[in-house]
Symmetry: C2
DNA sequence: CTGAAAGCGCTTACAG
DNA sequence: CTGAAAGCGCTTACAG
């Protein structure tokens, strides 16, 4: 009934538990004879070592924890997939802990990881959880991926959200768009805020008026934002959404409302989730190699567990991928109620596709 | 440097470790005074209990393991999301173990779970892994979700793949389609095989010729299958793919090849992943409430951990959701090289939408 | 090469 | 109400 223990194996093989441990771990010297006796006993008893007990002795769990935010879209799935692949390759397990809407929940999630994991990857983009992770980092390796500022003080991977946003806006301007709206991510989310800042800055640099509508990184909020934008009398001729998820929601909503993408409204997203390439028109976006980034993150964390002295802040630079959803504004295509600042002939005729 | 232990807390509060344990767990009686002293010490030392050690004493890990197959699409993401939500609600952690391309890998993954989890949900749809899980079930609660046959002998949740496939085919026949192809899932996958069997049976029942092309549940394989089908001289007028992922791949490939969906080819998928509703035309499919099923699975497993005497095999019946990708065949629309058996006027004029 | 023993950090009857 | 002690299942110096 109860699973066999190392004690049972030792008794059956008529050796000490130390010897059983040695053959099972390949540590220390053992005779061929004893080794065989042990192996037979293991086989007979269907013995499987108790990893919890082993962890307690070795203070190694061979598992890493991933602290996720509450929303759980394709972005995080991809990231976890990348981590999972790397984890398996390195002999690690992955324990995920998501659905943390606030910093307190994230905090208790982090605490409950002690004794369960050898290290943590923190993805919850809450301001305070960064501090929390920092507090915990004294005792356990932590890799921060919760966005926001480049913090050279501790190991982290951050996306260049600001730069990506600027690239998005500049791309739309180059296409001849002037009334460029932004669907923002949730307030308090560091990634979202950096993308918003990039948008505002690029628009200001171009002397264009800004138009921001709130979103929450969800598809629904993208749809709602699109409805709001479509109803405005100074309807935008381009939309940069803070992530692909919202961009897709907006894109479908615009189409349902009878607007054409990209003719009436060009769309640009952020992340390059798999879905971005599957909607029609395919979505222009700022590509992050998501799974690849996940893989890299896990490998770095495992490195941190092994040794130390890594406090680098790696920056992932998103790359603009132009697809069908953003094309030059059709010539002679006029929209009422527009207060364009500059009238400039579109210079690029379909960069691609 | 090293995290404080219960010993440190006891010393600082000047009580025994037993008392510390009591106040922390709310078990046994304690004076208000000692309780306060302990709490103060905990606060001062930033003490967090070591869950591994606790697990060893209580033989409870409060963690459940999920054994996934290698492919990791939206279906599994959704399922895990549902489990995750339920796990949090019940105070459980989730440890995922994926990327098991063969039964041996799955076996070692299962073995390595001992001492790490209180129970297992097995999703790897390999024949032998079912046996493995069965072997392990003597020692640990296991919920089987690896598809295939209804096995009343042990707790499981299975999708009525056969029934779903029959419904898909009958729907297409009702629309007036006659040359209905099937893009099959990987051989050896129980879910895939049941869907294939349902297709074959329904086609036979209708006296229609079958047309099966191999797939692997991936988007790429769906594309490849579509290319193959589009090139045939007896090109199908409908395709039932064994999952949505392949259906989407095929749908896009058909469109790229200049074929119209649903006019030239109607499409039906299986699963109702979120993506199914986002492609255009939206995909008709057999809806499984994926996240909901995941939630249910986790709750049942936790029930199994608590008590026993649950050997029910719950059947999830997929529901046909008709969307734009499957519509009646246009009247007077003739295709060359067709060997229709029956010419029947379409009776249903767009069941919905 | 092998075994007895201590220890990993907790919990839980069992005495007091 | 509280503490000493055994025990959870392993690993690992330390002697032999």
């Amino acid at each position: 009934m109860k699973p066999a223990t190392i004690r049972d194996v030792a008794d059956r093989a008529d050796v000490s538990v130390a010897s059983v441990s040695r053959v099972l771990n390949g540590s220390g010297p053992v005779t061929g004879a004893t080794r065989q006796r042990v192996l037979d006993a293991v086989e007979a008893l269907q013995y499987v070592p108790h990893s919890g007990a082993r962890s307690l002795s070795t203070s190694k769990t061979n598992t890493v924890g991933v602290i996720l935010p509450d929303l759980y879209g394709e972005f995080f799935s991809e990231l976890i997939r990348g981590m999972d692949v790397a984890a398996r390759a390195l002999g690690y397990h992955l324990i995920v802990s998501s659905s943390h809407d606030d910093a307190d929940e994230a905090a208790s999630a982090i605490r409950s990881m002690r004794g369960r994991v050898d290290g943590l990857i923190v993805l919850s983009p809450h301001l305070r959880s960064a501090n929390l992770a920092a507090g915990l980092a004294e005792r356990m390796p932590v890799l921060l991926m919760n966005g926001g500022a480049v913090d050279a003080a501790r190991p982290s991977i951050v996306v260049d959200n600001h730069g990506g946003a600027v690239a998005a806006v500049e791309h739309l301007i180059a296409l001849g768009r002037r009334r460029i709206a932004h669907i923002a991510g949730p307030t308090g989310n560091l990634e979202a805020e950096a993308r918003l800042a990039g948008y505002l800055e690029a628009m200001a640099a171009a002397g264009l008026p800004t138009m921001v509508v709130d979103g929450a990184f969800t598809r629904d909020s993208g749809e709602a934002a699109a409805a709001e934008l479509a109803a405005r009398k100074d309807r935008p001729d381009a939309v940069f959404a803070a992530n692909d998820n919202m961009a897709v929601g907006a894109l479908l909503a615009f189409q349902d409302a009878g607007l054409r993408v990209p003719e009436d409204i060009a769309m640009v997203g952020f992340d390059d989730i798999p879905l971005a390439g599957l909607v029609r028109p395919a979505l222009t976006t700022l590509k992050i190699q998501i799974a690849e980034t996940g893989r890299k993150a896990l490998e770095r964390l495992v490195g941190l567990i092994g040794s130390t002295a890594d406090t680098a802040c790696e920056v992932v630079r998103p790359e603009l991928v132009v697809r069908a959803s953003s094309q030059p504004i059709p010539t002679g295509f006029g929209v009422a109620g527009a207060d364009q600042n500059i009238v400039q002939t579109p210079s690029l005729e379909g960069e691609k596709l």
